[in-house]
Amino acid sequence: MLRLEKRPQPSKFWNWATPVLAVVLTMIAGGLLFMALGKDPFAAIKMIFWDPLFSPQFAAYSRPQLLVKAGPLILIAVGLAVGFRAGIWNIGAEGQYIIGALCGAAVALWFWPAPGWYIFPLMVLAGAFGGWAWAMIPAILKTRFNTNEILVSLLLVYVAEKILAAMSVGRMRNPDGAGFPGSRNISQYPAASNQELIANTGMHWGVVAAFIAVIFTYIMLHRHILGFQVQLAGQAPRAARFAGVAPARLIVLCLGFSGAMAGLAGMFEVSGPARMISIDFNSYYGFTAIIVAFLGRLHPVGIVLAGLLMALTYIGGELAQFMLGLPSAAIQVFQGMLLFFLLAVDVLSNYRIRLSVREAV
């Protein structure tokens, strides 16, 4: 019989081995899923994890996509990780991402077509502010009325989607667009465009911002008293209050930070890879980033690796969809399984498994 036995201290080894194990298990279960759909599992897995990077046929297009997709995922996930460590669950990064994009786009469209070096920096500020402000709604409701931030932030995603739809057919619609929904093409407006910084690498300002955020968060979490308080509040809320951490301040801080990061990601996306505001502008980076944050163990460096891996499943998934005719839902299931397996095998970092022979009574 299998028995779980609590470890005296969490295992450092399993803390980092579980994400790897979860990826392997996801590959196995995903392979079985693809087999059930009548596809060759090995070809599908190879198509998702190998071909985007190394196949001569696809790599030229796919490789730059890796940073393009990983950038926003990492930026959002790093912000979320700070809150998650404190036990503050911002599930609505998707909404903050949309509002950030809308605010950034609004600045760009306001100045269009004037030149000016200050326009892009203003958009960056507007994007961060939009995400921050959207996250302040659950923060204030929680600190004032003790509402549940998970529900409020999640439901605000749907509100944000409605605002996005209204904007793309209303105030932000391209006046020269022949009545089609969607704004002007921001990436073709030089003063506001978030361009690729090095040709054919996918490197744009959003990726730069993601790496700055990673370094900043690493220092904050591991060297600064604020990071200590965040972890303390997450692990032992009562001890945190005893240590003098004000819960309300921490809620405002964590939700605000993750909101600002998500807003920034949205802004860099709309002025770059997504090119414009449109009804289907959002691509669920805000939700996928939750998986990235956990897969990366809520650690900034882990999140970089997890973000790259998750970006790979996006790109490889598209490829598999295109080449093998896998339904897009199968790819989403695949990503979901990753989180599922990760949470399941996580038990290994706190427990060890013992085989015990049941003695006869």
Partner: protein, 505 residues
């Protein structure tokens, strides 16, 4: 010689890294009150869990009235006639007494019949209970009656009691002892677990002493002194805390008419609590758990804010200050719950040193943590307070209760407080660690600090404190000098009788 009720032979049980019981052998006769003595971690709990069918021993066997006995589950143990009252009650506060009793029974009768039985049995044993009352409204002593009555309804032959008096006032202890003696006269046996030696001497006729999982002695406790029993238990000579007489100095901490609503539904609101503590004084605050101890500590530490004037430190009002600001002034606290309140269980000792020491010990500069200083501070606590651990990198939860408590108290004392408030400083701590902690508190007061010791252990208060006040239902009695205070007077104060309050200091 008659056949024993329960005989245990060569019982052994090990957990990874520790042998909890090693070759334990002893017997309990019919109608015998048998004491199981030992420090925390000596293996008492493991042993009774084996008897009650909660764990299976690795080796050894038990005989129940001469027949092999190996319960695989508590139901089997109860069927044989073993009942147990746990140290931590398993009661639901939102249900009434009869419902709680029914939940713990294997085949509960209809609730109306049960209520009548509860009334009858509890009265017969001098522990009257109203079956219709909500458990949330009962005192700790009454809650224990619920547990005992639940056991008695099963007509047990052997009643196991794990530290039953830790939550009782002296008067309640007397009532409990009367009940236990009545049970003995009916021919029932009792296995009595405690570390309070005077109680064991008053109640038990046989004692088995455990140390590190092994039986190290058997005796008739009535023939031994408490000190001799303690030394059997610890295995070394005990150091008795002592201090010179003190001269009271200026008033360092003052609480004036503090009213505080309980933060939770089952907490206790503080009502017009007033106290004064002078430099060099140790004030002992006695009281049964749940009478406002946690709330009082919270109000003093700053976790619960009060109106500014309710708490003052050296004459300055601090009631509206948070924990960090109070610490900066020199008002330090150590709460009761070690894991999760005083310390973060999964964090290392270095991080836990940072938890309260960050500013006073200058472990943080411009918001950045000085990891080396934090580590050195943790190491100095470990060294000075003899915390047994491989090093400051170890997680707090890996330490034994006594060692972690030494760390927690040491962490505050090392920060040179002017006022230190501790809640249950030696709860669940072994005798030698408890003596070290008490000595440290007394040395602190000797050095001119004011110390408030909130404790349910009256012996502890009598040992360390200069003055005594009782906390009952959120009200604090006037304080009086400990010198000349009898157990009986204390018991009355704890029960809420103010007595002649003009004798107060």
């Amino acid at each position: 010689m008659t056949e024993p009720l329960l005989a245990i032979e060569g019982l052994t049980k090990s957990y990874p890294g520790v042998v909890a019981n090693s070759d334990v052998t002893f017997e309990i006769g019919k109608g015998e009150v048998h004491a199981l003595l030992g420090e925390n971690g000596a293996g008492k709990s493991t042993l009774v869990k084996a008897i009650y069918g909660l764990i299976r021993p690795d080796a050894g066997h038990m005989l129940w009235r001469g027949q092999p006995y190996a319960p695989a589950a508590p139901q089997q143990a109860r069927a044989a006639g073993v009942a147990m009252v746990f140290q931590h009650f398993s009661l639901f506060e939102a249900l009434d007494v009869a419902e709680n009793v029914a939940l713990g029974m294997d085949n509960p009768p209809p609730i109306r019949t049960l209520a009548a039985r509860i009334r009858e049995v509890s009265n017969a044993y001098g522990l009257p209970l109203d079956p219709g009352r909500l458990v949330g409204d009962l005192s700790a002593g009454e809650r224990q009656r619920v547990e005992i009555t639940r056991c008695l309804l099963q007509d047990p032959h052997l009643l196991i009691m794990d530290e039953p008096t830790s939550v009782l006032t002296p008067q309640e202890v007397e009532i409990l002892f009367r009940t236990l003696r009545q049970l003995r006269s009916e021919g029932r046996s009792i296995l009595y677990i405690s570390h309070k030696l005077e109680e064991i001497r008053a109640l038990c006729e046989n004692a088995t002493v455990l140390r590190l999982g092994k039986v190290v002695g058997r005796c008739d406790p009535r023939e031994k002194s408490a000190r001799a029993l303690a030394e059997m238990m610890v295995g070394t000579k005990l150091h008795q805390p002592e201090r010179a007489a003190h001269k009271p100095g200026q008033v360092l901490l003052e609480v004036k008419a503090l009213d505080l609503r309980a933060p939770s539904a089952f907490g206790t609101s503080l009502k017009e609590v007033s106290l004064q503590v002078q430099a060099g004084e140790i004030l002992g605050i006695g009281g049964v758990a749940g009478n406002g101890q946690d709330e009082l500590l919270g109000a003093l530490s700053g976790e619960l804010r009060t109106r500014p004037g309710a708490v003052s430190f050296k004459g300055a009002t601090v009631g509206h200050f948070g924990p960090t600001a109070r610490r900066a002034l020199g008002l330090l606290c150590a709460p009761e719950e070690r894991l999760g309140h005083a310390a973060a269980p999964d964090m290392s000792l270095t991080e836990n040193a940072l938890l309260t020491g960050a500013w006073r010990e200058k472990l943080v500069k411009n918001g950045f943590i000085n990891a080396r200083r934090a580590r050195a501070f943790a190491e100095s606590i470990i060294k000075r307070f003899d915390v047994r651990t491989p090093g400051p990198h170890v997680a707090a939860r890996a330490l034994s209760g006594g060692n972690l408590q030494k760390f927690v108290i040491g962490r505050e004392i090392m920060q040179r407080p002017e006022v230190l408030v501790v809640n249950q400083p030696t709860w669940g701590v072994d005798a030698s660690a408890a003596a070290a902690i008490r000595q440290a508190l007394m040395d602190l007061a000797q050095g001119g600090a004011a110390v408030v010791v909130i404790s349910q252990d009256l012996d502890e208060i009598l040992e360390v404190a200069d003055t005594f006040a009782a906390l009952n239902g959120g009200r604090l009695s006037a304080k009086r000098p400990v010198q000349g205070l009898t157990m009986e007077a204390i018991g009355l104060l704890l029960g809420g009788a103010e007595g002649d309050s003009d004798a107060a200091a």
